[in-house]
Amino acid sequence: MIHAAFLIPLFPLAGFAILAPFGRKLGNPLAGWLATAMVAASFVVTALVFAGLFQLAPAHRSFTQSWFTWFAVDKLNVGAGLLVDPLSMTMAAFVTGVSTLIHLYSIGYMEHDEQFPKFFVYLNLFVFAMLMLVLADNFVLSFFGWEGVGVCSYFLIAFWFDRAAAASAGKKAMIYNRIGDAGFLLALFLIFERTGSFQYHTVFARLGHVGQPSLIAIGLLLFLGAVGKSAQIPLFPWLADAMEGPTPVSALIHAATMVTAGVYLMCRISPVLHAAPDAAHVVAWVGACTAFVAATIACAQNDIKKVLAYSTVSQLGYMFLAAGSGAYVAAVFLMLTHAFYKALLFLGAGSVIHAMDEEQDIKTMGGLAKLMPVTAVTFLIGWLSIAGVPPFSGFWSKSEVLLNAWAVSPALWVIGAVTAVLTAYYMGREYFLVFLGKRRWNEARQTGDGYARAHATAGEHLAGEGSPLTTPEPVAGGHGAGPPHPHDPGWVMRLPLIVLAGLSVLGGFIDLPFHPNLDLLERWLNPVVGGTLLVHHFGVGQEWAFALVDAALAITGVLLAGALWRAAVEHRRLEPRLLAMAWYIDWAYDHFIARPGDALAAFSAAVVDSKLIDGAVNGVAAAVRVSGERLRRIQSGYVRSYALGIVAGIVVLAAYVLSRAGS
């Protein structure tokens, strides 16, 4: 069964290959069902391969399937093949699983969109690229997948490309990713130079021969790639803008899968991080700071999706904190549970947006719980999971991360703890404003207030203050003008919500700290990361203490949110402009990098190109012309002048001969 691994990426690729030329003919909704079927088939195969892997003894759970030689030049030999081991199969499992659910959801969400088939073409292509990323057996093939998901992210963010904001957001995502990719590439070069290979197994085996500076460099450069892909400081502004894409895209790519590619990379290179502790510390600290900063920003966002976007950045920060602390299992665990509840939250948000006629400002919602019960309940589960309230999955995964953070440095734990409180708080704020309280959407719609506020958040200030801001998501639902009539969506959209909610509840139980037999995930991942895992033995009492503290933090955040936001809609001092504008980081990039860049480009076009380069070329032409005109006068027509020239030539030649005569 394990040999069928090649089918895992092949199904989505086939889906792409069929839908690209024929998607339009298949139409709505057949194209969507085909795409979903393909990804579902991929999930089934993944499950089978997973089972096959499970049957092998733990030490032998690593299987390489080589396909072909991609390119071979002198000493450089890059092949294409799959590496089937616990880590990659875990990734593949949740990628295909969550993707299937989101494909299903999209059939309903994108129902009224004209470009329905194209959406699924891109989605399938994305799944293929993501699978190549996680299943590859060498760095270069992973990079192929890395780039592939970046490109698909661009396609999907800018799916409604006739909207300026969407096109610009897609471009922004691509550029930020590219900056990270430069780091990835440099790391690739360094890896090859130092170890002579790109295969994971070979590289890790040869790490002993690589000097410490190189190891740190490799680690940091790969982390730079991860920073770009997973939106950490300082390359995170793109993720908020990426919310311009359709909500299923945000759920799939910018919550569950693509952004976790960076975390996967860090886990995959655990031997490198283990051998270069300095790099690992950098990873951990950057992760922790990002978690905190993003959480603060999320506290002041008014767009339902932007809160979730910054929440994603924050949670990713936790994952990097875990990876940098040597707690790779915790990182994977958090990645897994986060995929469940974040996708759930996004899909729920999509359901709300759909119901509210594309309205996204949470200040203009309220009281939706009774009208959309399924959405409200699943969203509640998602909130409690992300907050870390026991016994939901988020509690278990976050606890493990914080526990290992304390082992590295108490300061990291403090940052993580504060962030945990903030996490519970801002999600609670969102929940209360959207689902509970008064129904503000009746009046807000009539006064037209809502739209302006929905978009006066970080990321859109670039359109200029006071200028007509971007138009909201185009009408993917067929609701007309007038107050919306919110209701739960059809079963196609409800089913994924329910499944994900179930997973959010139960997902935590795969790795429980109470008993050595219950930490299933840790034992499962042991062959891959076991050697590099930070092993810290806490006493049982200590572990309970930490667990209680974690629960307390979560509940504190929940209560805080309830106290502040149950009744009120505005708390000016808690939503300061600094946070709403994302600490002005994006603004700073625009003013100090982008605008000078534009000025330089304008200068280059006007001066360097027109005057210098064109001037040089035209100058050469002019010089030729002028010199030609001057030289023309030598031909005077007078024979005697020519004769004079000849005699002068004779004089010169004779002089030359004379000068040589001495020798």
Binding site: R632, R633, I634, Q635, S636, G637, Y638, V639, R640, A643, L644, V647
Partner: protein
């Protein structure tokens, strides 16, 4: 026999120079032609001188051919001059400047 060959060579040099300067200075085409003949004669003198120095008949053979070719050249050259300058009497070399650039 003899005067040193270097005397002859100097004489030929002087003759050549006079011919060259005359070619550049005079405007009457026929006199210019005659100056060319002067230069040819200077060359002939040089050839003969070296023929004597090297005891080689080849120099005189060269002079022989120079003579023949000079004759042919004069024939053709004067034919051209006649063809060009017949129309206007008193035309000088400077009048044929239509081919200026």
């Amino acid at each position: 026999m003899s005067i040193g060959a270097s005397w002859y060579l100097v004489l030929a040099a002087i003759l050549f120079t006079i011919g060259a300067v005359g070619l550049l200075v005079r405007r009457n085409v026929l006199v210019m032609f005659m100056c060319v003949e002067l230069m040819l004669n200077a060359a002939n003198l040089t050839f003969v001188t070296f023929s004597r120095v090297l005891n080689d008949i080849g120099g005189q053979v060269a002079v022989f051919f120079v003579l023949v070719v000079a004759a042919a050249e004069v024939v053709v050259g004067l034919g051209i001059l006649v063809a060009i300058f017949r129309r206007k009497s008193g035309a000088t070399a400077d009048d044929a400047h239509v081919l200026k650039g």
